[in-house]
């Protein structure tokens, strides 16, 4: 029986491994690698790369800037309704991105909830780069906030208390103690969120459309090219695999150096003992 169990586990592992690896390998085997990366010089690819970099950078900066204080609050304070807020923050994680796109359209679109107010201000958001930024921020924010809450929760409460007894006000406690000690976990959460934001597709195409050079990000470019120039779609996909793989490897090496574990989801180490 013991041998049978071992065989079943080994077979399941082999199937899972092959299934996950095959599509990734296929992208690199379909055409010669040299030809593959030559496709990155294509106009569509270049435009998409610029749109993606710009919108992701802005969206990510907003998420980190707003998400960090939110995570600090959620990690440090126990208040009624905290569980509700935490669940709400994580909701985009389980929503289909298309639902996020519809939701954003219903809120900020021309005929949406805030449509009239935005119109009066002369602001049009739907199908602009602003829409891309909003869509990306919406889907990546739970990845960052979740990881950041865990990172702040990993900071020993007594260190913050000690800082306060030494005369430090809330800003100083946050900047000098909590932030540096949570930095590892915040960095990991930030990288994962960034990767998720770069890959955002569903919410963007519904809320921002797919206009080359304006709202067409790299994933949208893959979609627009796969029936026109499959090699360009392959090339962009290969780029994603390299960037995503690079982020994961960097996180694991960093985590392994810091905590001796290969999970990037570990909270920051902070105890003094």
């Amino acid at each position: 029986m013991r041998a049978l169990f071992a065989a079943v586990v080994a077979a399941a592992t082999a199937i899972a491994f092959a299934f996950l690896l095959l599509p990734i390998v296929a992208i690199f085997l379909r055409v010669p690698v040299g030809h593959l990366f030559a496709q990155l010089g294509d106009d569509v690819t270049r435009d998409a790369l610029l749109v993606s970099l710009k919108t992701s950078a802005i969206a990510h900066a907003c998420v980190v800037l707003v998400g960090t204080p939110v995570a600090y609050l959620l990690a440090r304070r126990r208040f009624p309704g905290r569980a509700v807020v935490l669940t709400l923050v994580e909701l985009p994680l389980v929503l289909p991105p298309a639902v996020a796109g519809i939701g954003l359209l219903a809120a900020f679109g021309r005929f949406g909830l805030l449509g009239d107010q935005l119109n009066a201000l002369g602001l049009r958001i739907g199908f602009t780069q602003t829409a891309v930024v909003l869509a990306v921020a919406f889907v990546e924010s739970p990845f960052y906030v979740r990881g950041a809450v865990a990172a702040f929760e990993g900071v020993d409460e007594n260190l913050l208390a000690a800082a306060r007894t030494l005369g430090a006000g809330p800003w100083r406690v946050f900047l000098r103690i909590a932030l540096p000690l949570a930095a590892g976990g915040l960095g990991a959460a930030s990288a994962l969120a960034l990767a998720r934001g770069l890959g955002e597709f569903g919410a963007t195409i519904i809320f921002a459309g797919s206009l080359q050079g304006v709202t067409q990000t790299l994933p949208l470019a893959i979609y627009s090219q796969f029936d026109q120039n499959f090699d360009v779609a392959l090339a962009i996909s290969a780029l994603f695999i390299l960037v995503g793989g690079g982020i994961l490897v960097a996180l694991k090496v960093f985590g392994w150096l810091r905590f001796g574990s290969i999970s990037p989801f570990r909270p920051a180490a902070s105890t003094s003992s």
Binding site: A161, A162, L166, G167, G169, T271, S272, S273
Partner: protein, 340 residues
């Protein structure tokens, strides 16, 4: 004259801690079993735990009560946390100057100048304790709070560090609260000792007072005494005879009737292989459970009580676990506390 006055109720998960205490320029130790609420008292004084009612005042400044509730950073406490809570990402000097103030004099006073550039995880337990103490003192606090300052040290380091801390506290003359679960540490460091159990102060007094006239069995057992339970009745010659619940009878010079706790200190118990014909009235046949040498003394745990004798005597008698002995003590060495 520096003083810290407390009168407060602080809720914890399982009970309310209620305490009234005036601390002058002296050291008061709070001892008691873990979970008794000792740390909660320190946290309330520092402003890290919020009392439901009461008053905390340092000299003439109210820190809590009368509509006032100062934040921790507005109070003036030097707090040495359990496990020390040194900032792991800062050097010793960085830790010390975090609250402002100068580090040099204190580093020298505590003989840690050479460690200024080291990170906390490079320090030994004793060094960490000194850094934590120096950091707490760097801002010139008006009250000192020490939570198990010796708790993280091995027994070898402990004795030396205790002596240094004792001298430092005498020199500082600050109102100091020190939390410990070790009665010996408390007796060595504090002017007065308060025994806390389930959030209430059982007794407050000098070590001698707690040892000599413990208020109840919690205090007695904390002071390191044996506490035997039994039923007391009058005996001839004005003595009291106690029939022990664990078997056997003993005599006491104290008067009592009914259910009692018999308090007996380990150093008042002598051991022999046979009952000696001496002035001791009480002889209990016992069996050795374990035996631990502490320097030149041996703590011998018997079935129902503990005896402390010289290591030389233990050797001479060939004492070892499993050996049957007779524990002897005088009727004058026993205290009888009526049991509620």
């Amino acid at each position: 004259m520096a003083s810290l006055r407390l009168d407060l109720t602080v809720p914890t998960r399982s009970f309310d801690v209620e305490l009234a205490l005036d601390v002058g320029a002296e050291t008061v130790a709070l001892v008691g079993p873990s979970g008794a609420g000792k740390t909660t008292v320190l946290r309330a004084v520092a402003g890290l735990a919020k009392p439901t009612r009461g008053r905390i005042a340092c000299d003439h400044d109210v820190w809590f009560g009368d509509g006032v509730d100062l934040r921790p950073e507005q109070r003036s406490v030097g707090y040495v946390f359990q496990e020390y809570a040194l900032f792991p990402h800062l050097t010793v000097a960085g830790n010390m100057t975090f609250g402002g103030g100068s580090a040099d004099g204190l580093l020298e006073r505590l003989r840690i100048s050479h460690l200024a550039k080291a990170k906390p995880d490079e320090l030994s337990g004793g060094e960490r304790q000194r850094v934590a103490l120096a950091r707490a003192l760097a801002r010139g606090p008006r009250v000192l709070l020490l939570d198990e300052p010796m708790g993280a040290l091995d027994p070898h380091t402990r004795a030396g560090v205790r002596g240094e801390l004792h001298d430092l506290l005498r020199e500082l003359r600050l109102p100091t609260l020190i939390v410990t679960h070790d009665f010996e540490d408390a007796a060595a460091l504090a002017d007065r000792i308060g025994v806390l159990s389930d959030g209430t102060m059982r007794q407050l007094g000098t070590a001698q007072e707690l040892l000599g006239t413990p208020a109840d069995e919690v205090v007695a057992s904390f002071a390191g005494a044996n506490v035997l339970t039994g039923i007391a009745a009058a005996a001839p010659d004005g003595l009291t005879v106690v029939r022990l619940d664990a078997g056997g009878t003993i005599y006491s010079v104290e008067a009592a009737l009914g259910a009692v706790d018999v308090v007996l200190y380990p150093w008042d118990v002598s051991l022999g292989l046979v009952a000696a014909d001496d002035s001791a009235l009480n002889h209990l046949p016992e069996e050795i459970v374990s035996l631990a040498r502490v320097g030149n003394r041996a703590r011998v745990r018997l079935r129902t009580l503990t005896a402390e004798i010289t290591a030389a005597s233990a050797e001479r008698l060939g004492l070892e676990p499993g050996r049957r002995v007779v524990a002897s003590f005088k009727a004058t060495a026993t205290r009888l506390l009526p049991r509620a």
